[in-house]
Symmetry: D2
Subunit: 353 residues, 4 copies
């Protein structure tokens, strides 16, 4: 109900940033799939803190341990339990948060909702949870190897990557620490984040995700449209504030006669304003969507706020936080996309007799 | 799995545009709520076709009949079954669609997915389904009467309503046929849609939704964040292509120091870039989000396409279609919002002992 | 949550015995299945009241109307909505129940749980709801035509059918009104029910269900074992008080060395004490289980009870009630079995890559 | 879908008997409940192997570790992750099972269903999984402290405890190793199991469960009746073959006039043939049900069987297995009962406005 994602392949998770471990269960995975555990770890390494100078300097090894559901390198069809130990939970850095609420952070809402404040730090609200998703997504990617999912940073602050993905070499995403496939723009982004970091501030940005080699027919009508499930998944990422698919908000200014994607022989379309989805179901064209991330709430500057008694106070962030989460969001966006697509791929086996 | 929405209060629906009726079941509603059935019908009237010159001239009475779950004007706690007869299904208008695929329409994807073409018309892909949602939403609205949900048209094509909702008189939304609360902008929008209609074309737009009097604590952490559920709901509406909450895509260009919403005494915040949601959970400020709708696919102009055998062909729309769905989307956005909020309101009763 | 059954193929229902109609939605059915609607109606006729002298003389036509999900005799993969009008709801017969609680009836628990008394009659607690299940089951039967499901009455009161199903001619179940496949025992049962009816009393009994031509592998480990899902389904039938599979309660007196089913070549077993299920999963042998039904609570005799104010009172049943529900339970047991097996058959397509 | 139980409070589990650990996630638990972790461990100790001479001599410490959802002795409202390391997985004992199928064991069905044989031993089919349930149940018990759940062994083989629970001192259940509250019968049972064990054989039995201090109104109509959920839960226990509630199979021989439970002032009933449930909903009387367990399949005797190639073979059990699982089933029955009741208790908060 509360900590699970997926219909057939379901990921259920647990864990707080300052506990001893986080982890989860992947349920519903079919038997007989050879699993490359190194590939799973590699995805975790793409997400982990401390990997470059523009992300948080907190060090976590993020080594995943699997307990079940695998035998001699293959899935057994049983639920897959895993754990990621928290090796570097420094509760002390966060001690000053015991009494004041961090502006734009979930401190306040969690305390109000549950009547309990996790004084150790972010607790369940921490983006550390996304490591669990990366494990789930990395397994799901291996179930749909023919589908190619590639996300990249398309803007940070005012710096936009002003090229369509078809003009980019997506194999270059991992060639720089900001995960923008075009080198000159990447450099500008890295400079901006470095500057922001020095200022003790944070900055937002967008991630674009491209899914190539899509089968036709993924997605369910009505409430579980492919676009709707992707939106739910992406808006679940910490700091996500917007989602658009295909022409998105720009498309609202178009006329039907210019926006419609004309079918050509073979069932492909001349344009792809639809972003690969029509009526909620994939049409075989590339699925293209964009996610907006606001700047991280925790800044190294003094801010006004209130304390737990509702009294005016100030806060000055300390600890090791990301000046910009967008580069680290890239593998997370891919992981969630893989989970959604793997789930719909299995469901689709049941839609025709 | 496929045609249901909600966790505790669940709406399950059925029905095709050219069948004899559509309908649904609202399950999980608590007992003892006095229900105003006229208010439900009134919401349906806001959505129905034929209500003004700028929407489709198809006439449907959209009278809802309830079969269960109500006794002497109150809910009984049992599932609520309802039907909306299709009084005006003209299959003939659509006959020319038997063989060709309508560009950017779900014809193609449904035929591929299910191996079956509903030659009678849009079938399950039709926005007629949204009448079911309006029934569900109208019931849910009555469960959370203290929360005020008001959507409005904030742009059509290039015509933008360039005012923040706090500068608008939201009571004026229903004062004009385009559902834009500012009269001069509304007039421009009506002119534009009328012109587009004459051209046989269609146009997109955006709907903004404002939720006032929000309780603190609605939404669940991780995958069922309030923002994530709203996004899923909105992206399930026919023609929806984008969703943003609070600062949305604009917020990606901000720094944390300017974007953070500073708490003031009483737990309110000075600004509301968060759109009323922090960590996926409502913070008591107004929830504000925007939905992007692409132009309707069916246009009264000739377009190239392919037929069911994959051969090149042309199509020229006929029938009675909306030149712009955005005004009719307003009650739909509100209905889905009500369903999400009512569901989370009930769930929230279970989060503390 | 509350009124639905199934994982992939989900039946959601609504309706009270004294409303204008009951109905439901079958969701998750694959596209392309030719559906024999007469076969559905025939199953309803097996369940309907008034079909013989030993069941209630209430007359209901129980004609099902389908609204969606079917096109030219085939399923479309969309949700299937249906309605069964209540043609003979005589609220008057029940008027005396407004104030007193019927012993062993759900009157009391519903009133306590929901704070509302449906003075019109049984409301949602009525076995009329099982007509909805028969529709769902009749559709599911057509999805798994190779599996043969046959239930029969194996005891009424003290009269037991003392033969193993392999000694019986199961094609004779419908040859008599009590649905016991052995004529001499059937006659005794009919005599007993007729006598009980004259006395204004009621009597319990058991239904045995045999599933032949079972595929291997249906059922899920842990909480959704085939045996567990069948038990849940059967214990949901009105008046059900017990369930056993294979050797059941008798098997508790056995030693492992006599109870174990020895495998023989081809994977069959010499005996079938397991009732076709090992570890919760079908092993290809016949699935055999038995359901216990208590006597119907409503009797035509005076009984002591209390009224809604908790005061001592008496009640004397009137109206048209079944002296014994067991013969009419036969098609219901079959319908639920079909739903469980169809659901697991679809799920099973996903358990191996 | 496959490894989860519960609606609001959901337990999802993983783990094989011969892996390094089993574990699970309890999701949906409300915040603010003080948790007695020793009480959880104590329940595990009641279930663990090696606790007496009449159960398996396999030694497992069964120490549970919690990773999340708890802070300073209280639940936080977040998902509760836990692990139970397997300290004594001796794969060698089971090596001879690599090639032959154990009669009446899930070896065969799992191998057929998943296409994979877990040569290490029982894998996911092992009753070791029930340790996870005991953790979930022990937490749930603490959520409903007012409800008193007590199970006991009511028969082993032919030895029956021929007294109604009201004539027994249920506080004596733990006073002997067979968990039968009446000393003379307990001794006979212990003797029987000891004899059976020496013979290398196994024996079945029944567990009766009594729930006192029940609130009125637990259970949902239609498919999630309290009786139906209990039946599903119990039939999910390894070796369970039957379930009956209240009068059960005996009640099928009764007439309504003798079976009906007459209401007396205050809403109690004179008799309790209903077993505390009417119309699927608790009526405030004690809930009483019985579960039938067949003899354990693994015996220390030679049996005929087939191997994985379908060829005739023999098997002679080795290793450390239970001659009778019934005494160890007592805490498992209680745990599942607690989970069902806690779940319905939370749901019930939502059924009236």
């Amino acid at each position: 109900m509360f900590n699970e994602f997926g219909k057939i392949i379901k990921l259920t998770t647990f864990g707080e940033s300052h506990g001893t471990a986080i982890g989860g269960i992947v349920d519903g995975f079919p038997a007989g799939l050879p699993v490359d555990l190194e590939a799973v770890q590699k995805e975790l390494d793409r997400r982990k803190p401390g990997q470059s100078k523009i992300v948080t300097q907190r060090k976590e090894d993020d080594k995943v341990e699997f307990f079940s559901g695998l035998l001699e390198g293959k899935t057994t069809g049983q639920s897959i339990g895993f754990l990621i130990p928290n090796t570097n939970q420094k509760s002390k850095d966060y001690e000053h948060n015991v009494q004041v609420f961090r502006p734009s952070h979930a401190d306040f809402t969690y305390t109000q909702k549950y009547g309990i404040r996790d004084h150790r730090g972010g607790g369940r609200t921490s983006a550390r949870e996304t490591a669990n998703w990366v494990v789930g997504g990395a397994l799901c990617k291996q179930l749909i190897p023919e589908i190619k999912i590639q996300a990249y940073v398309s803007s940070i602050g005012e710096i936009q990557l002003n090229k369509h993905y078809t003009e980019l070499d997506l194999s270059q995403v991992e060639s720089n620490i900001v995960r923008c496939p075009e080198a000159p723009t990447a450099e500008k982004m890295i400079d901006l984040v470095s500057r922001i970091k020095k200022e003790g501030d944070t900055i937002g940005g967008t991630v674009t995700c491209v899914v190539q080699n899509m089968p036709i027919g993924l997605g369910e009508p009505i409430f579980d449209k492919l676009s709707a499930r992707l939106a739910q998944a992406m808006m679940g990422i910490n700091a996500a504030k917007g989602f658009e698919i295909g022409s998105g908000f720009d498309g609202t200014r178009c006329r039907g006669s210019e926006h419609n994607d004309i079918f050509i022989e073979g069932g492909k379309t001349l344009t792809n304003h639809s972003g690969g989805i029509q009526g909620g179901i994939s049409n075989g064209m590339d699925v293209v969507f964009k996610v907006a991330f606001k700047p991280v709430a925790t800044i190294m500057k003094e801010q006004s706020t209130i304390n737990e008694r509702g009294e005016a106070s100030t806060i000055h962030g300390r600890g090791r936080h990301d000046p910009c989460v967008v580069p680290r969001a890239v593998p997370i966006v891919e992981a969630l996309t893989a989970m959604v697509l793997a789930d719909f791929t299995l469901l689709n086996k049941l839609r025709k007799i």
